[in-house]
């Protein structure tokens, strides 16, 4: 309905292959970015920033990472939490070694460590597929969790076995640590996420994205037309882990401010996987929708009774949240097994052909 596309024609391949070929989408994204970068920082409360938006953004990035691997390359991984942890601990060590280097640079760098580790744990993918691979990645998850506690060097021998985020400044403004304002951290997270997602979108529209999807859709055929499976799969593991690693580093440095091994446990991996699947495998947008739903819903549910004036015990609310979340997951899968992103796609398609049904 709002997609009035008449007159949007492409006279060059560059325009035809643009990320957002439809004008309305470009406007939409521009509006969203404007809101995210300007309106939100001006109006949102600290609670909204700290407990809703920053977590959603960070988790979206992790979900994007997993989506690159699972949704685009078809390799199911349950090691996301571990890879996020690698990023977080790497970042912590980097801040120790290079205390004067810009923290944002270090956060991004820590992604490379995660990528390296991810590649190593991606090696089994050369021989095994599907759920077998998923179980193999669990090995990564548990092994890494174990390392995070068992190698005290990683957390600078802190007695608490946890990593504490030091206060780092940029242009005289505290960026990390307790004194950094929510808005600052939010803007940094937003910028990093936006940039990395843009890069992911670029990758997905180019050669690499296509080879990944080819491997996902039919790896044998892909091999026979000259795609080297092991390179492709390992690259997918590396890039995916890079994203997870950066997300992990941001999670600690720009969101929680502190973390220990348990912050990156198996449940974290599952949570990210939920986000990806509920959001939509093979959709970058889906990663955001999934993260927003899986993270946001419990918060909404938690505060709903207050708002509605009901006095329900917090534990009951939490238990009900589990049930509701579970039911919703099943419900969404039944309504649209391909996730929220597909729902959006369908909705968009409806709007494009409105008033027709197809």
């Amino acid at each position: 309905m709002f997609y009035r596309e008449v007159g949007q024609y492409k006279t060059s391949y560059a325009a035809d292959q643009a990320l957002l070929p439809i004008l309305q989408d470009r406007i939409g994204i521009a509006v969203i970015l404007l809101i995210a970068f300007v309106a939100v920082p001006l109006t949102a409360s600290n609670f909204a920033l700290d407990s809703v938006l920053i977590p959603i953004l960070v988790l979206s990035l992790a979900a994007t990472g997993l989506n690159l691997l699972t949704g685009y390359t078809g390799l199911l991984s349950l090691g996301t939490g571990g890879f996020m942890g690698v990023g977080a601990f790497a970042c912590y060590k980097l801040t120790t070694f290079f205390p004067n280097v810009n923290i944002i640079f270090l956060i991004l760098c820590s992604g490379f460590f995660a990528a390296a580790i991810g590649t190593v744990f991606g090696l089994p993918s050369l021989r095994i597929k599907g759920f077998y691979l998923a179980v193999a990645t669990l090995a990564a998850q548990f092994f890494l969790s174990w390392c995070f506690i068992r190698i005290p060097w990683l957390y600078n021998y802190n007695i608490s076995a946890s990593i504490e985020v030091p206060t780092k400044t940029m242009f005289g403004l505290a960026v990390t640590g307790p004194t950094a304002s929510s808005v600052t951290r939010y803007l940094i997270v937003l910028s990093i996420v936006a940039a990395l997602v843009l890069m992911a979108a670029n990758l997905m529209r180019g050669r690499i994205g296509r080879t990944w999807m080819a491997v996902r859709d039919m790896d044998l055929a892909a091999e026979l037309i000259g795609i080297r499976l092991y390179q492709t799969k390992l690259l997918a593991f590396a890039v995916s882990s890079f994203y997870c690693g950066v997300a992990g580093a941001m999670m600690v440095f720009l969101w929680l401010g502190n973390a220990e091994s348990e912050s990156f446990n198996i449940n974290q991996s599952f949570l990210i996987l939920f986000m990806v699947i509920i959001g939509g495998l093979g959709s970058l947008l889906g990663s955001f929708l999934g993260a927003a739903l899986i993270w946001g819903l419990p918060i909404v549910l938690r505060h709903a009774p207050d708002y509605l004036g009901l006095h329900i015990r917090s534990a009951t609310v939490d238990q009900s949240t589990f049930v509701i979340l579970g039911v919703l997951i099943i419900f969404f899968l039944i309504v649209e097994p391909h996730g929220l992103a597909r729902l959006w796609q369908i909705g968009k398609q409806k709007l494009r052909v409105w008033p027709f049904p197809y």
């Binding site: 309905m1 997609y3 009035r4 596309e5 008449v6 007159g7 949007q8 024609y9 492409k10 006279t11 060059s12 391949y13 325009a15 035809d16 052909v353 409105w354 008033p355 027709f356 049904p357 197809y358």
Partner: protein, 652 residues
């Protein structure tokens, strides 16, 4: 009476002019290889220069004819202009014609040189080569599949360009000289009329005629070089040629060629033409699609659509005509525009259409009003090949469903006692090529062109066409019988694709009906009605009942019109096959050839009038792959209720 059209009196001169003043503006866009490849006016002029030199080198001379066979492609239009540069006359031929149909024009015009699109056209020309000894050169645009063709006549378009560029290098001033030699009164192009009856006639049109008419209409509609037209009808048809050659050359606007027939809708949606032409058949097909797709929509959308289409029917036309409409209604319409009309225009690719024309045959008033009501400025125009199209055009704000508007600047109209329309205009053709007898018949000594259409001017001076003079008939009781009017009324129902009405010199009106396979098929699926194919579907009782309802509604409408109340349809049958141009039942422009049909299906007509319940037919049909087969079926004949005339009812 030739109006002065200034110094730019030929198309080649216009081309050079555009290349100079708006060289960087797009002249032609073609969706090719996935994107809209753009030819600017400069590029077009360069291409034309090379081609013209090539043609000259190959022996094309002033006054020669050159054949063009192909779809709307920039190169076809470039070749057309290149020929004109040399003073040769391009003869566009229908690309979907069978080989045999091409022989006559080529022989008639002694064509030596042809530019064709692809292997398909090459094959056709090679097939008739023995009958057309004059044909010496065939240039093909797309070399696909032609690699091993060894005929000496064949050469590729690219080869022609090579020859041309060399020639151009040898004599750089050649083209300008040749163009200078051209004058407005030179023949610009020759179009063969599709010839519903006799052999085709080559209509010779001068530069002057085409340019004058193109300008007259462009001025009237305020066309500029910013307008965009989508070229999708055969270039051999004068209508398309006017819109995709004469008018862009006159005004400098851009034409766009779709990628293929399958992608036309998408391509049109992408390009968003601002100036659009469609014969009623196309508009009808679009509306049928709209109706079908809306039927598939959910209940809410259907209700929304129905509601707002109601609003549109009431006030849409008036708003478009800038007539006074109440504020509440305007708001209501604006809401509809947001929710329904705007999106509808968008999916039809017509959001940007400023001016849309329909012509070629009478358009059903409901169909016509539909487009106007959703805010598309659809207007009727009247014209023919012989008149360079523009005779009458409905001016903005004075649009009526049943007229074709007043005469365009420069046109004089008058009527014979038999109500035949005569025309005198600067756009009139020069002659029928090599057919002085026919020329004489059509164009009298005073320069009046006899159209063969029956009509009259209404109170506002708008021309109203009833039918062909020879088709307008009378029932036994002298009641007026205008078959096309009835057929159009029937065809407005999405379920009816074609209708043929009989009644002249009979006691009542009967009709053949072709159901619309897509629409009825859809309808049947919704009712879980299984069917195997067209014949089966058409023989279903449910379908007959559906069509009976349609016919009865037409009858009810007719009853309200005192003049036509007597020509209500009493009986009809659903034909066992779809009428087809390949079987000669339709013209290439898909007009019903009523006489031929009446002859071919005489037994069916007799059965209708004999009051039989059903009739057995055996017929040969040609399948799409060219094979033929035998159909044998019993067709049921249905009776439709008729209604007393409104006047009678009022009296009662």
């Amino acid at each position: 009476m030739a109006a002065d059209i200034g110094a730019l009196d030929t198309f080649p001169k216009l081309l050079l002019h555009h290349a100079k003043v708006r060289g960087a503006r797009p002249a032609i866009r073609e969706k090719d290889r996935g994107i809209w490849q753009t030819w600017t006016w400069t590029q077009l002029a360069d291409e034309v220069r090379v081609l013209a030199c090539g043609f000259a080198d190959q022996g094309l001379k002033r006054g020669d004819h050159m054949a063009l066979v192909g779809d709307n492609r920039p190169r076809i239009y470039a070749a057309m202009c290149a020929a004109q540069c040399l003073g040769a006359v391009p003869v566009p031929l229908y690309q979907d014609a069978v080989a045999a149909e091409m022989a006559f024009p080529i022989q008639n015009a002694e064509i030596a040189l042809a530019v064709v699109e692809d292997q398909e056209q090459v094959d056709k020309l090679l097939e008739i080569l023995p009958q057309c000894p004059t044909l010496k050169h065939i240039y093909y645009d797309n070399p696909r599949g032609l690699r091993h063709y060894a005929q000496p006549q064949l050469a590729s378009y690219d080869r022609l360009r090579e020859i041309g560029s060399e020639a151009a290098k040898r004599d750089p001033g050649f083209l300008e000289r040749e163009i200078e030699k051209g004058a407005g009164d030179d023949p610009a192009a020759m179009f063969f009329t599709s010839g519903t009856t006799a052999t085709p006639k080559g209509v010779v049109l001068t530069h002057h005629a085409l340019i004058d008419r193109a300008r007259a209409a462009a001025e009237m509609e305020g066309l500029t070089d910013r307008d965009v037209v989508i070229a999708y009808l055969p270039p051999a048809w004068i209508g398309q040629n006017i819109f995709s050659y004469a008018q862009p050359f006159a005004t400098g606007y851009c034409i766009c060629c779709p990628e293929s027939a399958e992608t036309l809708m998408t391509d049109m949606r992408e390009i968003g033409p601002s100036y659009y032409f469609a014969p009623p058949r196309v508009l009808e097909a679009l509306l049928t699609q709209v109706s079908i797709r809306m039927e598939d929509a959910g209940r809410f959308k259907r209700a929304l659509y129905r509601h707002f289409m109601d609003v549109a029917r009431r006030v849409g036309g008036a708003i478009l005509d800038r007539k006074p409409v109440g504020m509440a209604q305007r708001l209501h319409y604006a809401l509809g525009d947001l929710l329904v009309y705007g999106p509808l225009r968008n999916v039809l690719g017509m959001s940007r259409v400023r001016v849309a024309y329909t012509a070629g045959e009478a358009i059903g008033p409901d169909l016509f009003r539909f487009y106007r009501s959703i805010g598309i400025n659809l207007k009727q125009l009247y014209g023919s090949t012989e008149t360079s199209v523009f005779v009458c055009v409905q001016p903005n704000g004075q649009v009526k469903a049943d007229t074709v508007g007043p005469a365009v600047r420069g046109v004089e109209l008058k009527f014979t006692p038999q109500r035949e329309l005569l025309i005198r205009s600067p756009g009139l053709f020069r002659e029928y090529y090599k057919n002085p007898q026919a020329t004489e018949q059509a164009k009298d000594a005073e320069g009046w062109f006899h159209t063969g259409d029956a009509g009259y001017l209404d109170a506002d001076g708008h021309l109203k066409i009833i039918d062909r003079v020879k088709d307008v008939g009378r029932l036994d009781d002298r009641t007026l019988f205008a078959p096309k009017y009835l057929e159009n009324k029937l065809k407005f129902f999405p379920y009816i694709k074609e209708a043929v009405a009989f009644g002249h010199a009979r006691d009542r009106v009967c009709a053949f009906i072709n159901i619309d396979m897509e629409a009825v098929g859809n309808w049947a699926e919704k009712r879980k009605l299984a069917y195997t194919g067209y014949v089966d579907l058409a023989s279903r009782k449910e379908v007959r009942d559906l069509i009976t309802q349609c016919v009865e509604q037409v009858n009810a409408d007719l009853a309200a019109d005192p003049e036509l109340a007597g020509s209500q349809i009493h009986r009809f049958l659903l034909l066992h096959k779809e009428l087809d141009a390949d079987d000669g039942e339709l013209t290439r422009t898909r007009k019903v050839r009523r006489g031929y049909i009446a002859e071919r299906y005489a037994s069916l007509v007799e059965a209708l009038y004999a009051g039989k319940e059903s009739v057995h037919v055996e017929a040969q049909v040609r399948y799409e792959d060219g094979r033929t087969g035998q159909i044998s079926a019993d067709l049921s004949i249905c009776d439709a209720r008729s209604f007393p005339p409104a006047a009678a009812r009022e009296a009662a």
